[in-house]
Symmetry: C2
């Protein structure tokens, strides 16, 4: 892999350009020849954007019931967190997990089918409706874990979705002009069709068995469903074991392009970005919804308690405003880091997508964490814990973003823009951007452990400082580099080679982090 040179990337880019132009031209009539043949054919671009928006909202919005659970001021947070954990956080995490699995399947399907027509658009909408219904089945499962109805409903949805997806595949293969060009010109289309159908039908089949077992032995159903989620990983490791036991099994090279479930299987970068944007956007706006409904005082109360002074009445909501500000700024800046990173990513792989999903799952928890920070009396043990939980969530959201970059660096010739590779001119700056939030969160966490009395001021100071840190980050990095230069090699004259040198120096701790 390391032997590849730049021409690969350029080739890859040109291919991508061509593909995009091809897809667009259908919608915009620049190259009319396809349209002439099949007038109903359309670019799938907007359908996918809409699906991404729907799926990202559904994945994230289940945090709302969690954050609306009333926490009593008197009891310790530990108990109330356990109370929250039992059902609602479980529903949130299960929804996030399953929905992202469904989303990955959707990406795969529409990497094969690159053009759509009206029927496919309507079938896709039906699929989306079933996905948005899944959180309800989880709520039922979480509330009535011993009743078979929740699991039956869930399996029913998944089975119907499987059937619709199969219909989509069969329909698309009956009209080959809808397919990816690679498959269109391929000779073994039938092989592809069967391979894809086999992969798609695996999950509904498992669900069918799970729904049968739900009548007999409920626990087994849950085990089967867990297997469904980790199915690709299990089948991959089984294959790996077999290949070690029997020897290298060579697959048809043709089948390796789609539905491979290899960690470096390409994932549409546009869709990863669209999905992430959706999650970041809904998380950033969730808190203002709460503020609008809960933090407008009743006119009667203002008259009675505060003598008609609205300002006095609103002063009590100060912590809420601060929580909103902190939450929005953190989510916004995490999006900013994500945006900067993906600007320099040229190819997204499945493993990077997985890490991105982990990061987003933590981002989804942010509004909850911030809401907790202002719900408890000042200097209480609960407040300290809420602040520390916030720090942990920010840390993990940031560290998984950093992990995406680290993974990309392993295969940098294929996945990264030259500027952010080892020795590239933006390399150190990107590292600083990605490392800022994890470092700050870690620092705040330990500071609040030591100075537990000042935990709230420290946390709020952090919230306010970080945006400015991002504004002057380029300057900060330059100053840090200059300092490093002064300490380690004070007599180097050439500016350019010095920067090169510093890149080498920052590479050392980075490698240590990787290994």
């Amino acid at each position: 892999m390391a032997g590849n040179d730049d021409s690969d990337i350029i080739e890859h880019h040109v291919e991508e350009e061509m593909e995009k132009k091809g897809a667009r031209s259908h919608a915009e009539s620049v190259s009319p020849f396809d349209r002439e043949g099949h007038s109903g054919t359309q670019s799938s671009h907007r359908l996918l954007a809409y699906s991404d928006a729907l799926i990202s909202i559904i994945a994230t919005v289940m945090i709302l019931p969690v954050s609306h659970t009333k926490v009593e001021d008197n009891e310790e947070l530990r108990e109330s967190v356990q109370l929250l954990l039992t059902t609602k956080i479980a529903v949130y995490l299960m929804t996030f997990l399953i929905v992202t699995v469904a989303w990955a399947a959707h990406i795969r399907l529409f990497q094969v089918i690159v053009r759509i027509d009206d029927s496919l658009a309507l079938l896709n909408l039906a699929c989306m409706m079933l996905i948005t219904f899944l959180p309800y089945t989880f709520s039922l499962m979480a509330t009535f874990p011993k009743n078979f109805l929740g699991i039956l409903l869930f399996c029913g949805c998944v089975m119907v979705m499987g059937i619709i997806q199969s219909v989509i595949v069969l329909y698309a293969f009956s009209r080959p002009f809808l397919l990816n060009e690679q498959i269109q010109i391929s000779e073994n289309q039938t092989f592809y069709k069967h391979h894809i159908l086999k992969v798609i039908m695996r999950v509904p089949l498992m669900c069918f068995f799970a729904s049968i077992f739900s009548f007999i032995f409920l626990q087994l159903s849950y085990v089967l469903l867990a297997i469904v989620i980790f199915l690709p990983y299990i089948s991959k490791s089984l294959k790996w074991c077999r290949s070690k036991a029997i020897g290298q099994v060579e697959e048809t090279p043709d089948s390796m392009l789609f539905y491979t479930y290899l960690p470096n299987e390409p994932l549409s970068k546009d869709r990863v970005e669209a999905f992430s944007d959706g999650v970041y956007a809904i998380v950033a706006t969730l808190l203002i919804l709460d503020i609008c409904t809960d933090n407008v005082p009743e006119p009667a109360v203002v008259q009675r308690k505060f003598g008609g002074s609205l300002i006095a009445a609103l002063q009590g909501y100060g912590p809420e405003y601060l929580a909103y500000f902190g939450s929005f700024v953190t989510v916004g800046l995490l999006w900013f880091v994500h945006h900067s990173l993906f600007l320099h990513v040229t190819k997204t792989t499945r493993f990077m997508g997985l890490l991105n999903t982990f990061s987003l799952a933590f981002v989804g928890g942010l509004p909850l964490a911030y809401q907790l920070t202002h719900e408890f009396p000042h200097n209480s043990r609960n407040e300290l814990e809420a602040i520390q939980i916030s720090c942990v969530i920010i840390f993990f959201a940031g560290i998984f973003q950093l992990a995406i970059w680290v993974v990309a660096l392993y295969n940098e010739q294929e996945t990264l823009h030259p500027y952010v590779r080892y020795g590239g001119r933006e390399h150190v700056f990107m590292l600083a951007k990605l490392a800022l939030y994890p470092c700050v969160a870690l620092g705040t966490f330990f500071l609040t452990c030591i100075l537990s009395k000042f935990s709230a001021p420290i946390f709020h100071l952090m919230e306010i400082t970080v945006p400015f840190a991002f504004f002057v980050l380029r300057l900060l990095v330059r100053v840090a580099l200059a300092l490093l230069r002064l300490i380690f090699c004070p007599d180097r004259p050439d500016q350019r080679s010095v920067v090169e040198e510093e890149d080498d120096e920052t590479r050392v701790p980075f490698n240590a982090l990787v290994t």
Copy 2:
């Protein structure tokens, strides 16, 4: 305008293609020369997509407090609707209006600034935070209409936003490589800068006066704010009056490209689509959130009331499920119609954007309407009214979509793909797609007026039939055309010319509708 031929459109497309490629290449290193000069420069594509997502969520999510207002079963809907109307619907509509105005300003700004760097991205995020805070100021205004605090907060937000936008403009003009190519190569950049700054600062200036008057004479502040919203229309009509009175005032042709506020000023089609997608997606998912929180019975209640039978307990929620199904299907299909329409729109104008906003405002009200349909006892007067309100909302959402097409047809050489122009082969089919929902809604409305006893079954039948109607719409249109042919000209032999003929026939009622 009608004298333009096809070459214009093709030229327009090629230009668009070039622009897109140019914008992309910055991010993807295909043409590295710009990057070499200014390494921090980035394509603004994703920043705008994220802003669109944020703004569309904020515009729509304020319907949630409205639909969460508890309506008593006993009283008549009229009273409760009036109770709703007073504050929460006002907040929703004001938010939707102001946020779409801010969004239009944002589009304009980023049609001039086509590339961004880190500082611009961060400034834009600050702007977004202020926009998401606006609904709260409306909530305050609606709850305390006689207190100056709400209006002061609102004006403060708008003024800070104006300052940030001015900083963005100044920053971008100090780095001309960030600007639109037309302005980059133009000689009177300073004129542009002053023109744009003048337009941007108009609104904060009005808000400044409004905030001063809020201390003295509150009503005047509200009037000033209303003027702010309709400022472009007022200034346009004033200009029109002046030009009629004094004679045609010729403006510098160079200044006519951006910030003209003419009805046919181009509006970025990508952004109109992204904003619409966001609204449709959030509306489609709002109801499942309610269902997940409200329609999972308590385990204790199930045990006591239904003897532990979950199925029996869930049967009571039947109407809710039906409302969810109806709401999702209607929103999904309205999105589908919107998607089909915009596939064939080649250029979006400001007037089309306005009509689209009206359509979206009604779409945002759909979940509320559907929730009302199942909240009242069967065959009550309330139920009938809720169903009729739903029909009216669907009708207006659909009719504004149709209006977009009608407006586009007026200038079809520039704005429409040849297939959907008069006599194009998809013309009738597009008309059928766009007219289906308004017709069905109107039909249902009158049917429920006549057969008021069967209003609920009629409405639910409509919900279930419409998706299938879309599936077989192409067939239905063909059958209808064949019937028309049989009736009016039974002895025409040539199939092709017959289709041409039918297009002419359908043109007649269409023209009648326009004039």
